[in-house]
């Protein structure tokens, strides 16, 4: 019990002293900065497609970018 407490305090101290260091340096992000790596390169299009599915399916949300919609029966 005591050893566990010491371990926990030790771990918290270490975490408090040293913030995680970026493991992908800024100069290594050339590929990530390419426009083809954007999750949502065309918001006006993705919002429309999310809307198309949302009005016809029971599920909704958690798509990252979502818009409003009509029933369009």
């Amino acid at each position: 019990m005591r050893a566990g407490l010491l371990l926990l305090v030790g771990a918290m101290t270490l975490c408090g002293c040293s913030a995680p260091q970026p493991w992908v340096k800024p100069y290594e992000r050339e590929h990530l900065a390419d426009p083809i790596m954007s999750f949502d390169p065309n918001p006006v299009s993705s919002v429309y497609l999310d809307h198309v599915y949302e009005v016809r399916e029971g599920a909704r949300g958690a798509t990252g970018s979502v818009g409003g919609g009509c029933g369009c029966n």
Binding site: P43, R60, C70, N73
Partner: protein, 387 residues
Amino acid sequence: MRLRLGIRTRTITAALFTLAAVSRAAVLPDDRADLLWHDWSGGGVTVQGPSILVRKKVTDSLSLAANYYVDMISSASVDVLSTASPYKETRTQGSISADYIHGNTTYSLGYIESNERDYKARTGFASVSESMFGDLTTISFGFTRGFDKVGDALHQAGQPILVTWVGDADHRNWQIGLSQVLTRNLLLGLNFETDESDGYLQSPYRSARYLAFDGTVQAESAVTPNTRTGNAGSVQLKYYLPWHAAVDGNYRLYHDTWGILSHTIGAGYTQPVSTSWTLNGNVRYYRQTAANFYSDLLPFEDSQNFMSRDRELAQFHDLSLGVGASWQFHPTWPRWLEKGSLNLSYNRLHIAYDDFHDFGRPGGSPLGIPLYSYDASVTQFFISLWY
């Protein structure tokens, strides 16, 4: 006779301009304008119209955006033909939003207003996004509040259309998201969302069906619960391929208190083929279980407290395949224009129901009718300008 004018506007569950959890680093979005034309054709329904999105930085730390969206609907779907007449209607939606950046934090506020003849929705949203660990990680929190007004439109020959407001619906939505740079070639996005709705949550135009003593299918009023809470969680991955291409995959799990459990899985591929042309393709599969109170054909009249035959609440699956092309150009005039792109995309969608039949108008026999399914085409053409 009732003209099926109204369309059930679904809850605006999140905001058009809410910072997506997958955004990276604390930077304001690009100044750009998009003009899109959309077209849906399938299931006896056509929906088309424009969408215009304009975004501009007004200072180094403040960006404003506005969107105007139109759905022009012409519907003769199986639901409409079984209880009413084909109809045409227009829905318009306007949105404004502001993004303010301070240090590594981005604050967003916005308002959305949607109007139809028989449905009005007012929605406000706010979110905050924090970039950390050398911009490798971004965490986002968002809240959306919506107020809907639901109407029932009745049209009798020679009479003006009469809209009766039958109820209100309130919506509260919470979102949390995380984006993470995993390696120099791999990105991860996680999103979780809770949606809570109460009030009038059904369509005044939909009816339940039951088997009458004479063996025919008859209609009765649908009754759905007046509360609904749903949870959705998703994961996205995107990977940069060595030959200058990108592949992505995503999965979403959804469950709500009406008993719907769904899985969505998708994948995409993006390939630049020259300095100007980029091609892409995508596939998406979705399936869901039915709501607890859904029934295609009830055994007798008033056999349940809650009953509905909304197709959106049935058990079904759909598959979508899409392709797209983008051509980027760099005009020399006007000077303030940095670049532009012309984009065309096409999706083919197949929806197949496991427990929904097209019984037609009340009074027919339920025998010998196949399960309902249909195909649809979704086309988008848009021009984007960066300035």
